[in-house]
Amino acid sequence: MKYAGFPRWSRLDNAAKIFPSNSSAKDSKVFRFFCELREPVDPQILQSALDETVRQFPFYCSVMKRGLFWNYLEDSSLRPTVSLENTPPCLSLYSPDRKGLLFRVFYFGRRINLEIYHVLTDGTGAAQFLCTLVHRYLLEKNPKDFSDSPPKLTYTASHSQLWDDSFQKYYEKPPLPKPALTRSAYRLRGERLPENRLSIVEGHMPVDALLTCSRARGVTVTEFLTAVLICAIHAQMRLRDKARPVVITVPVNLRNYFPSESARNFFTTINVGYDFSRRPDDLDAVTAHVHRCFRENLTEKRLHERINALCFLEHNIPLRLVPLLLKDWILRTAARLADRQATAAFSNVGKVTMPAEMERYIHLFGAFTSPDKMQASVCSFQNRYVVSFAGPFCSHDVERAFFRSLVQMGIDVEVAANLPYVE
């Protein structure tokens, strides 16, 4: 399949095209997906499980290179090695001056941590990879328990399906003109951590209690938690900031709306805004508004418009002919403008499922990303719901307000953080 001098290569998928221009030490575009087991991780078994997994996802061993017009991925002979986590989370994975893989695997205590550069895939793709890794690890770790009939994962996509760029599949007509710029959103301020460090605060809670709370309001858990986040941000706003709306960016997994088995990026984002200067500031009003926003934006027609708008970049001939150096600058400026329109992000990675026989070995799954602003990522496994806040700020005001209001509603919350004390 592989010959010397004939490397397999591929264009970046549509969403990935904008990431390289916008990655920096401050915003590395690297995200982490983690799995916490019931027992400490065995590095040797993890390494052999990783070797197996990489064989199943060969394109993960790609490196990114710069062309004259676009970056591209090219397969490489590099292979990943697992290591004990000894660096801050989500450090940059790509540099044009260094040849390296675009993902890494760490272990720490009972956790297996997978960090991936967003160019390679999105949360769903990473979940597929991590589940496969954990599946292999548990098979090797407990050979006796699974000897007669090893449980199977539900992912059955072929190599080419995994490597599919689904944006291309669903692009159809020339996009509509861009909507006019909206009012710039309230932006979180505060002292930043030194060395571009990321502060992580996780809250673990039972899924059923959350479901009860959100069903009582007639909304989904994502809508409910988005509303709680908007209120938590509102709680620490100064009076003069309140003229600006609080806008939450919500990534949407397009696989839920358009059939796709792709392990590469296939998502878009919607913005949910709430203007406290014009609307009441109680949680129920915010929840109702968020629910309405989700319902209006998450229709197949709206999402198709988003896909077409995203593909604009790629199907616009003059723009394609711009050299990469200049494109970097254009894309950076565009991203900075878009950034002004959002306060924080709320990303639902979704429910992770593993074969039933394996569930007793696994405590939880979780995820977070390295944002320039604040981002909450949520992930559920069995009855464990994990909300992970990641942000560059020293203070934890938003996180505190968020988790305290959940506690007040009678939900049990367990908290963990990577920087337990910050002066």
Partner: protein, 221 residues
């Protein structure tokens, strides 16, 4: 598990205080429960050496500038000192920054050196030594060096083809200048062009498909 009375949350691991409110915690800490390693804030390790070198350069530049102002008869030497320091930093900086991709580093080095050499020749009253001797010799040497490095490091064709090709194209420039009558010395330019053409032939004959693939990738729209 520890507990924060004020926030009403349980706290995993053994932090000294509540991560949310920095308040006191009650209950037993679980020393093995930490889910993140404790990584102290610390400067980058190579920063001290870098800072010392930078300080030395600043002092040397200040001395050169002072000499330029105080000693009119040594102005050329003082200017050369400043330009030399700047050139040194530029070349060493690029080599350091691109050390992970050796052939890319070599190619960038060639480009920067070409410009520096032309600038020095120009600054010293343009006697043409840069175009006549230095650049042809530089291009010939780097082509050979690239071939050796690629061999020694067992680089894959996709890691060296582009840079070697670009260097070959640079190597043809002296010949073009010679044919236009801009050069006075014949040998270096002709030797450089001859080596370039031979290298080009080797690339096309032995790595033709790989070269084509590399160009398709680098130029895809």
């Amino acid at each position: 598990m520890r507990y924060c009375e004020k926030c009403g949350v349980h706290v995993i691991g053994s932090p000294p205080c509540c991560p949310l409110c920095q308040g006191p915690l009650t209950g037993e800490a679980d020393g093995n429960g930490n889910v993140y390693p404790d990584i102290p804030f610390a400067g980058r390790p190579h920063q001290l050496l870098f800072r010392l070198l930078a300080l030395g350069t600043v002092i040397a530049m200040v001395l050169c500038t002072a000499a330029f102002l105080c000693l009119p008869e040594h102005r050329v030497a003082a200017l050369s000192g400043i330009a030399g320091l700047a050139s040194g930093w530029l070349t060493v900086g690029i080599a350091f920054k691109k050390r992970g991709r050796p052939l890319k580093a070599v190619f960038w080095q060639v480009c920067v050196l070409s410009i520096l050499v032309l600038a020095w020749d120009h600054g010293m009253g343009w006697r043409g030594w840069s175009l006549n001797y230095v650049l042809p010799v530089l291009y010939t040497c780097t082509m050979l060096a690239m071939a050796v490095i690629a061999r020694l490091l067992h680089l894959r064709p996709s890691d060296y083809l582009l840079y070697l090709l670009l260097n070959i194209l640079l190597g043809l420039i002296p010949l073009v200048l010679l044919l236009c009558g801009l050069l006075r010395t014949v040998y270096p330019a002709v030797i450089c062009a001859a080596v370039s053409v031979i290298f080009l032939a080797v690339l096309i004959l032995f790595e033709g498909p790989a070269l084509k693939g590399e160009l398709l990738r680098r130029l895809h729209l």
